[in-house]
């Protein structure tokens, strides 16, 4: 049976024959999979026909290298065929019937446990993913907050870091081509009110922070920190329970419309992209993300990298 070395004649004859009748070859293709039914039967010690066919037809019980193609629909298949094969001996005898029932039940339980196992695995994975995402989001907010909390608002706020040279100077954003509203100078009490609202964010009192920022906007509709307040409201609407995505979207859009040259714009654009993505508007989301990259790619805004990562992850 085993032909070591060069059994040319026989080999080639076989080749020739196989080629000559090539079209029929397809019909007898051996398959590269485990016959699950046979395996299960063997495992259960079931004297089913599958078990005996294992010895007679190696092509069916083929080992192993692959789960192979064609077994993808296996669970359903075995779930549907298993009862038929095991129930078959039922009319034989009462004891046989009981044994058959038991085997059937064990099989069903095993299938069920496997299915549940898969669900648990997937949900655990989802949880881990969500956890790391929410941690990421928290760290993101925390990083921005500590940036602002790091010193006096004047020096640490993103507004100040962009273009302003001295605390007292007009805090116009660096790119000033846009003719839209510019935040004015800080009014008396504005800084304190803003800081107070911030404090609430830092303490993770998000609901109170929302109210505080809303009040801030009522009191200082054209203040120095107004763009920031719009931005943070947008952020906060996303983390309140339940999140108000539409309100968040509007806050970010407001920032975009009123202060298109503000240094918070790239961040707002990124957030808008994410919002659209969660709403299922992939194309719309992509427009925002692309804008971040195209318009602010040369700046050192963190939003550019975030947008790029988001695109890499999701597109």
């Amino acid at each position: 049976m085993l032909l070591f070395g060069k059994a040319f004649t026989r080999t080639l004859l076989a080749n020739g024959l196989a080629l000559a009748v090539g079209p029929f070859c397809v019909l007898v293709q051996a398959q590269d999979y485990i016959d699950v039914e046979a395996e299960r039967a063997a495992a259960d010690g079931r004297p089913a026909s599958a078990a005996s066919s294992q010895a007679a037809q190696p092509a069916q019980a083929y080992p192993v290298t692959s789960y192979g193609i064609g077994t993808a629909a296996r669970p359903e298949q075995s779930a549907s065929t298993a009862p038929a094969t095991t129930v078959a001996p039922a009319p034989v005898a009462a004891s046989g019937n009981n044994a058959g029932q038991l085997v059937l039940q064990v099989q069903q339980l095993q299938q069920e446990v496997m299915r549940l196992n898969g669900i648990v695995e997937e949900q655990a994975h989802e949880l881990r993913t969500l956890k790391s995402q929410s941690l990421e989001r928290y760290l993101d907010i925390d990083r921005r907050l500590s940036l602002l909390a790091g010193g006096s608002v004047d020096e640490a706020s993103p507004l100040a870091t962009e273009g302003a040279t001295a605390p007292g100077s007009a805090l116009a954003p660096a790119a000033s081509s846009a003719p839209a509203a510019q935040p004015g100078a800080a009014q008396p009490g504005e800084s304190a009110a803003y800081q107070a609202a911030y404090g609430l964010v830092r303490e993770q009192k998000f609901d109170q922070a929302v109210s505080a920022f809303q009040q801030f906007l009522r009191d200082y509709p054209a203040g120095r920190f107004t763009p920031n307040a719009h931005y943070w409201l947008g952020e906060l609407y996303l983390v309140t329970t339940p999140p108000d995505v539409e309100a968040a979207r509007q806050s970010f859009m407001l920032l975009l419309d009123l202060y298109p040259a503000d240094s918070k714009v790239p961040d707002a654009l990124f957030k808008l992209g994410k919002i659209q993505y969660t709403k299922g508007n992939r194309d719309r989301a992509r427009e925002f993300l692309d804008r971040v990259i195209n318009e602010y790619g040369s700046s050192n805004s963190a939003a550019v990298k975030l947008a790029q990562d988001f695109i890499n992850d999701n597109y």
Binding site: F4, N15, L17, P63, M114
Partner: protein, 433 residues
């Protein structure tokens, strides 16, 4: 009369296939956008008669197959230098060549061959590599592959994997009778096929020892599956297992001392570990689901395998020290037959997407999944030892063929055999010289 005709037809095919048995032919289907232009000038032959092998052509083909190079056609070359003095950069700049490889081949002693080579950077006008390879005349192709490896590494920074070998199983259908199985060893370009084993019963799951000197495979020659280990140099072989039920998917540990395998001797398929010195068996997984297709992480600390313990086939990792099992794949309802690149990061596997079976790559650090192939019914991925290419089996029409894709999906080529079905490729590790 009818019978006679059949015999005649058979004879014709016999004659036609004598020179071409299971040899693989390479067709490049997709290359990179901006391949590097390199001229591999025919090497000067310093010996009697004609050279035993067109060394430069072998190198040329290797570089072209990588998809990263665009070798200059010989007809376009304005000169054919074989020494540094004969290299004039303007000849090469004129045809937009970035690098020029020249060389000389000679016979030293009875059967020793020596290949000297020099690589020039046309833009910098400098020699960037020179060296030589020596070996048996019969190994001229392998010497050429080694030169290609050196050139590839110099120009890309990645070690070449041309001087490696492939194992694959080919099946010749024999309707009405038993199919004919062959386990074949060839160079990485499919040339010089050597049939290691022929059988009327299935041969499966060929795999390499980490030093490339031994192979293992599953053969049904005793009418039931058994795992064999075979020494390539001598052909000596040992039957490692002969248990009831499945004996399959041998996978050598990176230190070469043990072998993971699938056995169903205790009822249903589980992963076992065999100590190759003592033949002692340890059962690693114990689950009523099917655990199969073990493969090692390169650090030898854990084994990946396929299991349907979650209802659907997915890849799991078994940690050999803690015994903990962890699921690795979550995307898609079917992920099987994992192989991990030497960097321990790129995991390739068979992945079902849209009802089709593709080869996919999962980055084990970011867990990002990338589908590499667009063919269907792809199976048995095997990674080149330098991690650059994945070889796999697929279907072309009715026939099983081998195909390869780069790990970034950018370069693709096919290695269809001239006859029969080919499957289950196994790319060798680096060969010790």
């Amino acid at each position: 009369m009818k019978h006679l005709t059949a015999v005649l037809v058979a004879t014709v095919f016999v004659l036609a296939t004598i020179s071409a048995r299971a040899e693989l032919v390479i067709e490049i289907t997709q290359g990179m956008d901006n391949p590097t232009a390199i001229a591999v000038v025919p090497f000067a032959w310093q010996g009697n008669g004609t050279a035993p092998e067109d060394v430069a052509q072998v190198i040329d083909n290797d570089l072209a197959r990588s998809g990263q190079f665009d070798p200059v056609g010989r007809g376009d070359m304005l000169a054919r230098p074989s020494t540094q003095q004969e290299v004039f950069y303007r000849d090469w700049r004129a045809i937009n060549t970035e690098y020029v490889l020249i060389g000389r081949a000679s016979v030293t002693g009875q059967v020793q061959m020596r290949i000297e080579y020099e690589l020039f950077d046309v833009n910098r006008q400098a020699r960037v590599l020179s060296g030589y390879e020596e070996g048996h005349v019969n190994d001229a192709r392998m010497l050429a592959h080694r030169v290609a490896d050196e050139v590839y590494e110099t120009l890309t920074g990645i070690p070449g994997a041309f001087a490696t070998r492939l194992l694959y199983v080919s099946v010749t259908r024999n309707p009405g009778g038993k199919d004919f199985y062959r386990l074949t060893l060839s160079d990485s370009d499919g040339a010089r096929p050597i049939v290691l084993l022929e059988s009327r019963e299935p041969i499966m799951a060929p795999s390499w020892s980490p030093d490339g000197k031994h192979i293992a495979y599953v053969s049904f020659e005793t009418s039931r599956p058994a795992i064999y280990r075979q020494e390539l140099a001598t052909g000596a072989r040992v039957q490692l297992t002969n248990f009831r039920g499945l004996n399959g998917a041998p996978a050598w540990s990176p230190d070469g001392n043990s072998m993971a395998m699938v056995l169903s001797k205790d009822g249903n398929p589980d992963i076992y570990l065999m100590d190759l010195r003592t033949r002692e068996l340890t059962q690693l997984t114990r689950h009523y689901a099917i655990d199969t297709e073990p493969t090692w992480m390169p650090d030898g600390r854990s084994i990946l395998f396929t299991s349907d313990r979650g209802g659907r086939p997915q890849i799991y990792r078994y940690d050999l020290r803690s015994g903990a099992t962890e699921r690795l794949t979550y995307e898609g309802s079917y992920n099987a037959r994992a192989r991990v690149a030497q960097d321990g990061r790129n995991l390739v596997m068979v992945h079902q997407a849209g009802g089709q079976f593709h080869i996919a790559l999962q980055d084990l650090v970011t867990n990002r999944l990338q589908i590499l192939t667009s063919t269907d019914l792809d199976e048995s991925p095997s990674i080149a030892p330098n991690g650059s290419m994945v070889l796999y089996g697929t279907k072309s029409g009715d026939r099983g063929i081998l195909a390869a894709v780069s790990v970034d999906g950018g370069v693709k080529f096919r290695l269809p055999a001239r006859e029969g079905d080919v499957r289950e490729p196994a790319w060798s590790p680096y060969m010790n010289r």
